[in-house]
């Protein structure tokens, strides 16, 4: 398949997924109890006239399908709508927060890749106590909820030792890297543990393959065998898992962003859901879906680099 037709097929699929997702999200929000009025008017309520005026202004009484089609129409014209609560265009809200989530997820992805692959490979090659320690740590990491890890990291490294700040994204550059380190750690623990396990299994499997044994019998240097024959083949499952993990990280960032008071898409989504800020929820979900699909497409492309025998978009 050519790269162009691959892109075309993927974008078509993406549009379909987006349409279905947006309909579902819109419908679910519409059905869920609660109204944005409480947040528009503040906790002290409002006069009946005010309630009527706001309901009218934001079309809160229009039937679901009318609101959905109106929203879809605006979207086609590149208008994501206005936030009820923040009185701003949703696009502005997203732009202001996308950078934080992107930085957080990228940093976490790097940590996951480095820690997961090194620990997994190390466990597979050394076996014995190293394997024991890595496996145990991986089990603990996998079973500990993200917010627990986050709170523990804050208590130890931010409050206890004072090495890191307790919240926020800092002022950019190195300061932001410093601010995002603990959140990225918290976000990556479970995924790094999972990747370590997958890597270990994949490496172990490759080691028993015929061509590796042949290479060993031929007396090739062990380092070369590991790099050329073991890791290279093991990279396919590793990349798959890493790709899927990064896609899910975007959703996982929700919890971490709240614990560390980061202004990312995740915390925006949580607030918007609580406040029934329809346009914002819809837009953030769409961004997450796009990111998920795009990351998976990138993984597919990576396959062809790792193993040129795999053709673009093949199901193999």
């Amino acid at each position: 398949m050519s790269f162009a037709s691959f892109l075309l097929r993927r974008s078509g699929g993406l549009l379909l997924v987006l349409l279905v997702t947006s309909f579902l999200v819109f419908g679910l929000l519409y059905l869920a109890p609660g109204s944005p009025l409480a947040f528009i008017l503040g906790p002290r309520g409002g006069t009946p006239e005010q309630i009527a005026a706001v309901t009218e202004q934001y079309h809160l009484n229009d039937p679901f399908i009318v609101r959905y089609i109106a929203w879809l129409g605006d979207l086609v014209q590149g208008d994501l709508g206005r936030s009820l609560v923040y009185r701003q265009p949703v696009g502005d809200l997203l732009l202001a927060r996308a950078g934080t989530t992107a930085a957080l997820v990228s940093l976490a992805a790097v940590i996951i890749a480095v820690v997961g692959i090194i620990a997994g490979t190390w466990a597979a090659l050394r076996r014995g106590w190293v394997d024991q320690v890595v496996s145990t740590l991986a089990a603990i990491g996998l079973s500990t909820p993200v917010f627990v890890v986050g709170v523990a990291l804050i208590s130890l490294f931010a409050v206890g030792l004072g090495w890191f700040p307790t919240f926020g994204v800092g002022t950019g550059g190195l300061d932001s890297l410093w601010h995002l380190f603990l959140p990225a750690m918290a976000l990556s623990v479970a995924s790094a543990a999972y990747l370590a396990r997958i890597t270990k299994t994949a490496v172990n499997e490759e080691r028993t393959r015929e061509h590796v044994q042949t290479a060993t019998v031929r007396g090739l240097a062990p380092g070369l065998i590991v790099r050329r024959h073991v890791l290279r083949n093991a990279l396919i499952p590793i990349t798959t898992v890493l790709g899927l993990t990064i896609a899910t990280l975007i959703a996982g960032a929700v919890v971490v962003e709240n614990v560390f008071a980061l202004d990312g898409l995740g915390s925006l989504l949580v607030k918007a859901i609580l406040q029934r800020d329809f346009a914002v929820v819809q837009a953030v979900v769409l961004v997450l879906v796009v990111a998920f699909v795009v990351v998976n497409a990138i993984v597919d492309v990576l396959y062809t680099f790792i193993d040129p025998r795999i053709s673009l978009g093949s199901k193999q």
Binding site: P33, G34, A38, P48, Y86, V159, T166, F167, A261
Partner: protein
């Protein structure tokens, strides 16, 4: 979902709550014991100021419990919004830290008759952009709150206002359809805040948002608002009142919503201060920290149980009286609020006595918070216990709601009332205030509320039967309330309000539970922030400075 709790389990919850909150070392106090359970505070001597800062400081980092949705004063009707706007936009009257009102942007207010207020605008005041404050700006700021189409959240205070017009060079005249003493006092809250007409018209819907250029006259001006991250305000060096010399060059607001994250940030010095608008767990942790000071200030805030429905379990006055009599408010303040609350005998507390204080104080003596189980039992016997359980709405994931409900369940149990709770998720709880459908099947819910200025009438006017706060349609004082709203003479009004207070406190359209002081945390690096309730409406940061 109705959570059925036996007496045993609610007692267990209560015991657990007192253990975890009060700390195991605290001796189990008797109900007549005054002192706080574990927090150190003197409830009889709440603060209105903190020692002024002594040296200039470049930046003060202050936390807001969430990001303001707007800093345009007509939309600032809530804690975070007002906390920010109070330093930016000034009102016609100004609230002093002791909660009294003094002239603000209006140098004088004349009242040729009860329906007319003539505001003389202060000379020499400029907006941040250098333009002078004119009568035109004042009239505009008031006009945009008048009428049914107005988007202002302060509409209640303008319901009797017919017009606000420029009647002189520096004069604006407000005409009312009938006398309204609440309007006059509300000019000391954000309802009376003045913005520049030209900027507001140019800004349109974006005015007061991160994209819109707010223009006010306050001692601080907006420096930047990075949506989601921070709102930075900086000293207005051209401030008209040259007696006010803020020492802090910049106040940078963060928006940490998570309470434990906020407490961590405060205790490590990542932020310098915060006003807590809910009594948080973790306050005792902060009180132990050497890096921060905790100040409890004068406040108009009260915690109350609002009964729902004329025909519901709390529709009967005697049942309300019985339940109220059975509640041990001392215990409630101690357990639920860790001692950082004052048992409330009436809805509007002593902080609201802004005039005729002696008369209010004298009348207040009539009420007390002593529980009387026997008298309560008698009332239940007379009225007959409701056949259906009394269902109270409890806000999901709020410890204060849940623990208060437990206290009230126990009180009901003691006098033969079957009180149950229904957990309402936090995202739906707000609907109870304005959506009758959301209140169906419920007999009461808890609410934190406050007066906007020192007049108990501001709160008692809720109980006029047409008011949206009167959820049981109680009409026992309609005539008196209407009359008091028209009474501009303080002594006469006080007399009327005292009468209303007596009727309300006896009939209990709302059941008072506790008065909550303002809690202010300040890093030891700084001092001078205003810890009284005035922080919502007047510049509370002008006295902040560094400490030696």
């Amino acid at each position: 979902m109705v959570l059925r709790k036996t007496a045993l389990s609610s007692a267990a919850v209560l015991a657990l709550a007192s253990l975890t909150l009060a700390g195991c070392s605290a001796p189990s106090g008797t109900s007549d014991q005054k002192g706080p359970a574990s927090l150190e505070l003197d409830l009889d001597n709440l603060a209105t100021t903190t020692p002024a800062g002594t040296k200039p400081i470049d930046e003060v980092k202050w936390n807001l419990p969430y990001e303001p949705s707007s800093i345009d004063p007509i939309f600032t009707w809530n804690y975070a919004e007002n906390t920010a706007t109070a330093n930016l936009c000034e009102s016609l009257l100004r609230m002093k830290p002791d909660l009294s009102l003094e002239p603000g942007l209006a140098s004088t207010v004349d009242q040729p008759d009860d329906k007319t207020y003539v505001y003389t605008i202060r000379e020499g005041v400029t907006f941040w952009n250098g333009n002078p404050l004119t009568a035109e700006d004042v009239a505009f700021s008031l006009q945009r709150q008048i009428g049914e189409d107005s988007k202002s959240y302060w509409g209640d205070y303008f319901s009797n206002v017919v017009s606000a017009e420029v009647t002189g060079d520096m004069q604006v005249t407000v005409t009312l359809s009938e006398p309204d003493v609440l309007f006059a006092q509300a000019m000391g809250s954000a309802a009376g805040a003045i913005v520049e007409k030209a900027a507001a018209e140019a800004g349109g819907d974006a005015f007061g948002t991160p994209k819109g250029d707010l223009q006010c006259t306050g001692p601080y001006k907006v420096a930047s608002w990075d949506s989601g991250k921070r709102l930075v305000i900086e000293r207005n060096d051209a401030y008209w009142n040259t007696e006010v010399k803020p020492l802090a060059k910049q106040i940078s607001f963060s928006f940490i919503a998570d309470e434990s994250t906020a407490i961590n940030a405060l205790s490590t010095g990542d932020v310098d201060g915060q006003f807590f608008y809910l009594p948080p767990a973790g306050l005792s942790q902060l009180q132990k920290s050497k890096n921060v000071t905790t100040t409890f200030g004068e406040s108009f805030v009260f915690w109350t149980l609002a009964p729902i429905g004329k025909d519901g379990g709390l529709g009967d006055e005697k049942i309300r009286q019985a339940l109220s009599l059975a509640i041990d408010r001392e215990q409630l303040s101690k357990v639920v609020f860790q001692g950082a609350a004052i048992p409330a005998a009436t809805i509007a507390g002593p902080a609201t006595w802004g005039y005729e204080e002696d008369a209010f104080a004298e009348a207040f003596k009539e009420f007390d918070v002593t529980a009387d189980i026997e008298a309560a039992k008698k009332l239940v016997a007379e009225a007959g216990a409701p056949s259906e359980p009394i269902v109270l709405a409890v806000q999901g994931s709020s410890a204060v709601h849940e623990q208060t409900a437990s206290v009230i369940q126990a009180a009901g149990q003691a006098i033969g009332l079957n009180v149950q709770t229904k957990v309402i998720p936090v995202e739906q709880f707000g609907n109870l205030y304005f959506d009758p459908a959301a209140r169906e099947g419920l007999d009461g819910f808890f609410t934190t509320n406050y007066a906007d200025f020192a007049d108990p009438l501001g709160v008692y006017s809720f109980f006029e039967s047409a008011n949206s706060h009167d959820y049981i349609g109680w009409d026992g004082a309609d005539a008196e309330i209407a009359e008091a709203l028209k009474t501009t003479d303080d002594a006469k009004r006080a007399e009327l309000v005292i009468g209303i207070q007596k009727k309300v406190t006896e009939a209990l359209p709302w059941i008072p539970l506790a008065y909550e002081p303002t809690t202010m945390i300040q890093s030891t690096r700084i001092s001078g922030a205003v810890p009284s309730f005035a922080y919502l409406y007047a510049p509370w940061a002008v006295s902040i400075g560094g400490t030696e």
